[in-house]
């Protein structure tokens, strides 16, 4: 099994809502919930140093409030005005707990999506 770190309990993330968590090493991760599915990404906007949790999320589409870049939360793919995808965070659901796997962010893999 891979190294993994406990991130949160699923009931900490509201239905069709989002919440930001900080790992021990200072990495910030945003967890978004769509029904019973959970998705985790780098908490910072791929555009500038802006926290995505300040933006808007309707259960499907995440919008950064700063310049309105948008993403499909299920895939992290860009929508609308976005010029870069979200950086995904490898994650496992174990019972009611969410774990992030090492390495947390695989930036190199993102561009090739």
């Amino acid at each position: 099994m891979q190294d993994r770190t406990l991130l949160c309990n699923t009931n900490e993330v509201p239905e069709d809502g989002m919440k930001q968590f900080e790992l021990d090493d200072g990495t910030k991760v945003i967890v978004l919930r769509s029904g019973d599915e959970f998705y985790a990404y780098d908490a910072m906007c791929p555009h500038q140093e802006v926290e995505l949790c300040e933006g808007f999320y309707d259960g499907c589409v995440l919008t950064c409030h700063q310049h309105l870049w948008q993403w499909d939360v299920k895939t992290g793919d860009m929508m609308g005005l976005a010029e870069a995808p979200l950086t995904s965070v490898a994650m496992e659901l174990d019972g009611e707990d969410l774990y992030v796997c090492e390495p947390v962010m695989n930036r190199a893999a993102v561009g090739g999506r």
Partner: protein
Amino acid sequence: MMKVQVKARNRAFGFDTGVGESVLYSGLRTGVALPYECATGTCGTCKAKLIEGELDDQWPEAPGRKYLKSDQGEFLMCQCAAKTDLSIEIGNFVSEATPGAVIPAKFTGIVGGSRMLTPDVKAFTVELDRSTEFDAGQFVAVRFPGIGGYRGYSMVNFERRTQTLEFVVKKLPGGGVSEWLFDNEPTGVELEIFGPLGSATFYPGMGKNVLCIAGGSGIAGMMSIFSRGCQENYFADHQGYLFFGVRTANDAFYLDELAAFKAKHPENLHITVALSTEAVTDEVKAAFPGLEFDTGFVHEVAARKMKDHYDNIVAYLAGPPPAVDAAIRTLVLEARLSADSIRYDKFS
């Protein structure tokens, strides 16, 4: 003159820059659509990465720097000038300026006259050294004598080609320009101007219904948009909705001008003044029968009244950042407008 070499996400290009001139302004004036929003150091949108060369940062305390990774050589193009030839990198796609768009340039202007609209709102006109074109909804960066840096101000008037620009300024207590403008008679003072700037623009050719949500002095650009719409008879076959948020009825201004727009197209224009901290009195309603008045924050009033009217809409938002953010949230989450039909200027 020095050279700036730029590597953007999609292409490489270069332009010349002068001593003390911001990298952003020199690029824009040569017709390159560099990324920016406020052009005055607050938003962080103009960030670039220094690869080689030396910069003169004219405002190291600029609030927009909080969006940068400075340990990676990122800087604000609107606040930095070149000391040597530069090589820089921009993470965004950068296109040539759209054909037909007005390329911004440097002007000098003389303040023509000013008048108080409320105790903390002042309007003034500026005569430029030559005529220019601009689009309704645009702004210029203005430098006042003896005050550091530029400030953004949106044009209130609209004429396709003009030498006179009209502005309205809401006093920010303690602010550099605010304190000077409200303590002095500005007539005859010479200003440095760079513009026109901004992409929250309105063109009759777009064929959409228009929604404007303005907080306080954010009404400036909306006056320009409604002027153009009325001049070109746009509202004969398009709807125009305008929401103007102020604290109390005494803080409102341009009500006569707004009533005059309404009188031109009584069927299709819908103009509401939202008072955030005061109930609407019968007296106010009687004084402006063409206008509607409501109580609440302007984005809430707009959300209430716009239900079922979002068809074929382009939305313009301007004013203090919290008011604009609240309106954007409403339009994205409740009205489900697409991001490219929302245009905004945050007056930060």
